[in-house]
Amino acid sequence: MSTLIDLAGVTKVFGSGAGAVHAFGPVDMTIEDGEFISLLGPSGCGKSTLMLMIAGLLGITKGEITLAGRNVTGPQTDIGIMFQDNTLVPWRTVRGNIDLQLEMRGIDPASREDDVEELLRSVHLEDFQERFPHELSGGMQQRAAFCQAMVHKPKTMLLDEPLGKLDAMTRENIRKDLQSLWMQKRPTVVFVTHSIEEAIQLSTRVAVITPRPGRIERIIDIDLPFPRDFDVKSSPEFTAYVRETQEIFRNYGVI
């Protein structure tokens, strides 16, 4: 495996002078090609900020980010980003929103019809493709947003709390789907979440971030076999990882 994303002394300060907010860093970290890494941390610790900096959509105050060997100085267009607030536009249907990603990239949606169908089926939205976003539940909107973010088949995915608004059952289902998708295609995934179990179930590594200003407290290698189904989740090893992580948050006083 080779390094895909390299963070060197990455720091973000919003504003300047007396009103400056030190939101994140300094952080050094490398993310390998093909790994599934979770960013786990309390609200406001800078997870979204970090994702936006990796995507080149937010300036870095200090430090450097390298993506696939190149310095990140502007928007990165060959990755897939799922933003924390979904980017579905209200004037297009689910299908139209997915096509929007292609159209913006100058790709004719007609040439990708089969891919879109498959993507919609994989998140069980095939019967809702002609619906408008406001006709969908929050969870369905999130799944549609996932399709929108992934339709151009990026090899690197930045997912900012993609399962945040889902109910426990759907959440479990989508985790399973996400895991098999990752096992099949082996994209590099940076996954933001609040859920300790989710992070451990899905990831090869979990980066635990401190409260603001966010720093990496510990990076935990999750050495469990894939797929991590019900049996793995009830194993003592899994529980040990959960305890280890909870311990860190208990020390911060956030749980």
Binding site: L52, A55, L57, P75, Q76, T77, I79, I81, F83, Q84, D85, N86, T87, V89, P90, W91, R92, L100, Q101, E103, M104, R105, G106, F132, H134
Partner: protein, 268 residues
């Protein structure tokens, strides 16, 4: 899906009927009260006439009323259309140019404070009694709400959508066509509708000040002749004109941004 949609649709329909039934009853009640109050309180005819007489006398003068409706309608529509045609590109330019936003925009906001109608006598003294000064006044009344709402519309794209657009690497033009423009339409229509309501007001006042035809002229003349019945008939046609323009704009809104209307419908 369809079966779960039906009862709510039916309920909504019956809801609307109940609400508008009360409204219609109130409306009829209002005119009945007017009709009989004039008789009961023995109000002289040169002060106020009952609605039945307005209809009767208005019908007798229908040719003149219809022609004047056409005259005022032409002034209104011309001024309104010119306002849209000029305000949209200017609004766009201001929204996307920092220099214009720092120079012309504050200037426009200052002028917006001036009651445009106050310019009416000046324009009429400069340009005479004809069509042009009325069109200019309607234009002035309509231009500002349209341009200010357009600037707001094109400047208020959500941060998330801005980022999404940048992450795709799309050109500014593609981003404009596929995201900025459709996202701006609802706010633009706020301006169009506000202007549509005020357009006939502008035309009527301009005609009060100096004209020899049109509904404003008519209302002023017949009022001077102690004919409130005909004045009300003129007001009725002026109202129809305003409603007509507003109706067309609302129809255009439904056609252009059905998604927005439907959002509003389900949230209420």
């Amino acid at each position: 899906m369809a079966s779960s949609d039906k009862p709510s649709l039916l309920m909504r329909a019956s809801d609307t009927i109940v609400r508008s039934w009360m409204f219609i009853a109130f409306f009829i009640g209002f005119f009945l009260f007017w009709e009989y109050a004039v008789v009961w309180f023995d109000i002289p005819r040169y002060i106020l006439t009952p609605p039945s007489l307005i209809v009767q006398k208005g019908a007798a003068d229908l040719d003149r009323l219809l022609y004047y409706t056409y005259v005022t309608g032409l002034e209104t529509v011309l001024g309104y259309v010119v306002a849209i045609v000029l305000a949209l590109p200017i609004g766009l330019a201001i929204a996307f140019s920092t220099i214009l936003r720092r120079t012309i925009y504050p200037f426009l906001v200052c002028i917006e404070m001036v009651p445009k109608i106050a310019f009416a006598p000046l324009f009429i003294s400069w340009l005479g009694f004809g069509l042009l000064p009325k069109v200019i006044i309607v234009f002035l009344v309509c231009f500002f709400p349209i341009v200010l709402n357009a600037i707001l519309a094109f400047n208020s794209l959500s941060e998330e959508l801005t980022r999404f657009a940048r992450s795709t690497g799309a050109s500014a033009w593609t981003t404009f066509l596929k995201i900025r423009l459709p996202a701006a339409l609802p706010q633009c229509f706020v301006g169009f509708k506000y202007a549509a309501i005020n357009a006939t007001v502008g035309a009527a006042i301009a005609e009060f000040i100096g004209s020899d035809e049109g509904l404003g002229f008519y209302i002023q003349i017949v009022t001077g002749n102690m004919r409130p019945d005909l004045a009300f008939a003129g007001i009725f046609f002026l109202t129809l004109l305003g409603l007509g323009l507003f109706g067309i704009v609302t129809l255009a809104e439904r056609l252009l941004i059905p998604w927005h209307i439907s959002v509003r419908r389900t949230t209420h």
